[in-house]
C-alpha cells in the first residue's frame, strides 16, 4: 500500500534524491536506488499507472510531511 508519493530534492544539488511516501500507513523516505525494494515497488506501481509521484517543492528540503 503505497500512496502520497512526492519527490524530495537534495538540499545541496537541488536534484531529486528521494521519494517521500506513505507505506502501509507509515511515512517513509525512499532513495532513488533500484536495489531498494520500496523504490522498485513504487516504480512498478507508477509503470502500471497505479501511483503518481508529485514533483518536489522547489524550495523543499524534505519538509514534505
Amino acid at each position: 500500500m503505497y500512496k502520497d508519493a512526492v519527490y524530495v530534492k537534495n538540499t545541496m544539488t537541488g536534484e531529486n534524491c528521494a521519494i517521500n511516501c506513505t507505506i502501509n500507513g507509515q511515512q517513509w523516505s525512499v532513495p532513488l536506488d533500484p536495489a531498494n525494494s520500496d523504490y522498485a515497488a513504487i516504480m512498478k506501481l507508477v509503470a502500471e499507472g497505479k501511483l503518481t509521484i508529485a514533483p518536489a517543492d522547489p524550495v523543499s528540503s524534505g519538509d514534505n510531511n
Binding site: K9, A18, N24, W28, P31, D38, G62
Partner: protein, 504 residues
C-alpha cells in the same frame, strides 16, 4: 594328505565289492585322499551301508575346501546352530546362529546403490554419500540404516569429517536470519495491528483481502527459546480466490548461491521449526524463488492445539527456475495462514511453475477469529536431516539483521534553518542497498549548547547523501532552533528512533 576314518556301525558289516573304497575290514587303517578324487566319501549311518558323498570337497589342487553349497531355497529345513554353507544366490558363506542365517565375512559391499538380496547384518559403503550402512531388521521390516552415524556416543581423539549433512561443518548452517525471533528493532515486542510488512526482524507478515492479523514478538516459546513470532487473527474472513495471509522470510541470493539451485547440482535442504497453533489440522508452507514462478508446497500437521510441536520438512533441490545469487531475493520461505484457491498448488511435495502457497483442504486459519499462530526456531540448512537449531550470539544475529534494518538512536549534523535538523547517520554495517528511512515517533535533538528540542510531529526525509554506508536525513517540525548550530540526536528524552530499511 591322509585321513583317519572311524566307523560308527554297531554291528559287523561285510566288505563291499568296490575295493577302491574304504572297507569295514580296514576302517582303522590310514587312507589317502588324492587330488583327483577330492571329495570325501562316507557310508550312510542309517544302516543301509550305501556310500554317500559327504558335503565337503577339496579343489583338485587340494588348496581349498568347498563347504556345502546350495541356493537360499535349499537351506536345511531343520537347521541347527553352527551350520555353515555357501549360498549360491547370495554368493556368500552363511552361518546359522540358532535363529537365522547370516553372512560370514566378506566385508562391506561398495557401490552407489544397495546390494541385492541383503541379509541382516550386511554392510554397504554408499560411495556417492560416503556413508556406511548396515542392513537392519527391526522386527517388522528390514532396511538399510546408516551405520557410521554418531548415535549419542563419545568420540575420543580427533575426528576428520568433510561435511555435516553435505553442508558446512559448523557455523552458518542456518540460512534463516533471526530464526529464534529475538531481534525486534522496529517494535521491541509491541503488537502491530493489521500487520503488513516487517514485524520482528527479517520476518514479514502480509495480507491481501479482508482478513487481518496482529503480529508481535512473544515471550511464549518452547524450551530452549525465549521468543517467538505471534500472529493473531484480529479480523476473520474467508479469503477470496486472490486473497491470503502469510508469514514469510525473503532470503538474499548472496546467502544461498552455494545451494546451486536452478542447476543440475541443486542441493537438498531441510527446514525445521517450532510451531504452536490454536487450531489443529493440516497446514502448508512453501519455498519459492524471487520471481514467484517456481514453488514447492508441502504440508505439516498441528496435532494438538496450543502445544509447541517441532516440525521438519525436506525439500529437494530445485534444478529449474531462476534463483538469484546476488543481492536480490533468491528464495522465499512462507507459512500459509489462509489463502484463496488461486494459490492452491496442483499437488504437494513437488516443484511447480507458479506462485503457490498451499494445497486444497489445508486449514484456513484466517477464518478463525482470535486464532493464534506462534513460530520460532526456524532453520533452513543443507541436507536431508534437520540438526539442532544453530544458536548464534545475540550480537551476531543483530549484525545479520543490520544488513536489512537498523534502528538508529545517535547521529550528528546541523540545523540548516529554524525548523529542521540535518543528521548524518553512519550505518552500523554496510546495508544491502541504500535504505529507505522512517521514524517510530518524534525525535529530540540537541544543539550541544543550550537547548534540546523535540519535533511537534514526525517528519523525516532523505535530503542528501544516502548509500549503503551512511544516510543524511532531514528531521523537520522543530521550532525555535538556531540555524547554523550543531545538531545531534541523543534520544534521552524523545521516544522515537530512525528506522533504516533495505529489506528485500
Amino acid at each position: 594328505m591322509t585321513l583317519s576314518v572311524k566307523h560308527t556301525f554297531t554291528s559287523p558289516k561285510a566288505d563291499g565289492t568296490d575295493s577302491t573304497l574304504i572297507q569295514p575290514s580296514n576302517w582303522n587303517a590310514e587312507h589317502t585322499i588324492t587330488a583327483a578324487a577330492g571329495k570325501v566319501l562316507g557310508r550312510d549311518t542309517s544302516g543301509t551301508g550305501s556310500v554317500q558323498e559327504l558335503p565337503l570337497a577339496f579343489d583338485p589342487t587340494m588348496q581349498s575346501m568347498v563347504p556345502p553349497t546350495g541356493t537360499t531355497a535349499q537351506r536345511p529345513v531343520t537347521a541347527t546352530a553352527g551350520m555353515l554353507r555357501y549360498n549360491t544366490d547370495l554368493a556368500k558363506v552363511e552361518l546359522y546362529n540358532g535363529t537365522s542365517w547370516g553372512s560370514v565375512g566378506g566385508g562391506a559391499a561398495i557401490s552407489d546403490s544397495g546390494p541385492a538380496n541383503p541379509q541382516p547384518g550386511d554392510l554397504w559403503w554408499k560411495s556417492d554419500e560416503g556413508q556406511l550402512y548396515v542392513y537392519y531388521n527391526d522386527g517388522s521390516s528390514s532396511q538399510w540404516v546408516i551405520a557410521n552415524a554418531f548415535m549419542g556416543g563419545t568420540a575420543f581423539g580427533d575426528i576428520t569429517v568433510t561435511s555435516i549433512n553435505n553442508g558446512p561443518l559448523a557455523g552458518s548452517r542456518n540460512r534463516i536470519i533471526n530464526g529464534a525471533m529475538e531481534i525486534d528493532q522496529r517494535n521491541n515486542g509491541a503488537a502491530v495491528a493489521n500487520a503488513s510488512g516487517y514485524t520482528v526482524d527479517r520476518w514479514k507478515v502480509a495480507y491481501a483481502g479482508s482478513a487481518r492479523y496482529t503480529a508481535q514478538r512473544s515471550s511464549v516459546a518452547p524450551t530452549g527459546f525465549v521468543s517467538s513470532l505471534l500472529a493473531t487473527v484480529s479480523t476473520a474472513a474467508s479469503p477470496g480466490a486472490a486473497d491470503g495471509n502469510i508469514v514469510e522470510q525473503y532470503i538474499e541470493g548472496l546467502n544461498t548461491w552455494d545451494l546451486a539451485w536452478g542447476t543440475a547440482s541443486a542441493k537438498t535442504v531441510t527446514l525445521s521449526f517450532w510451531v504452536r497453533c490454536s487450531v489443529a489440522g493440516t497446514y502448508c508452507l512453501r519455498v519459492a524463488n524471487g520471481a514467484l514462478n517456481r514453488s514447492y508446497v508441502t504440508t505439516y500437521t498441528i496435532s494438538a492445539t496450543n502445544t509447541w510441536e517441532y516440525k521438519t520438512v525436506t525439500i529437494p533441490g530445485e534444478t529449474s527456475g531462476t534463483w538469484a545469487s546476488d543481492t536480490n531475493i533468491s528464495m522465499i520461505v512462507s507459512w500459509d495462514l489462509g489463502f484463496g484457491t488461486n494459490y492452491n498448488a496442483p499437488s504437494a511435495n513437488t516443484w511447480a511453475n507458479g506462485n503457490y502457497v498451499r494445497v486444497a483442504g489445508a486449514v484456513t486459519l484466517n477464518t478463525n477469529n482470535g486464532a493464534t499462530f506462534y513460530l520460532t526456531g526456524v532453520q533452513l540448512e543443507v541436507g536431508s536431516r534437520a540438526t539442532p537449531f544453530e544458536r548464534r550470539m545475540y550480537s551476531q544475529e543483530l549484525s545479520l539483521c543490520h544488513r536489512y534494518c537498523q534502528a538508529i538512536k545517535q547521529g550528528v549534523g546541523a540545523f540548516p534553518n529554524t525548523t529542521q535538523a540535518q543528521i548524518n547517520v553512519q550505518h552500523y554495517i554496510p546495508m544491502r542497498s541504500a535504505p529507505a528511512v522512517s521514524q517510530t515517533a518524534t525525535i529530540t535533538v540537541t544543539d550541544y549548547i543550550a537547548m534540546d528540542v523535540t519535533q511537534s510531529t514526525v517528519g523525516i526525509a532523505i535530503t542528501n547523501a544516502n548509500d549503503i554506508y551512511g544516510t543524511c536525513v532531514s528531521l523537520s517540525n522543530y521550532s525555535g532552533v538556531v540555524a547554523g548550530r550543531t545538531a545531534g540526536i541523543r534520544n534521552y528524552t524523545g521516544t522515537g528512533v530512525i528506522i533504516l530499511s533495505s529489506e528485500l
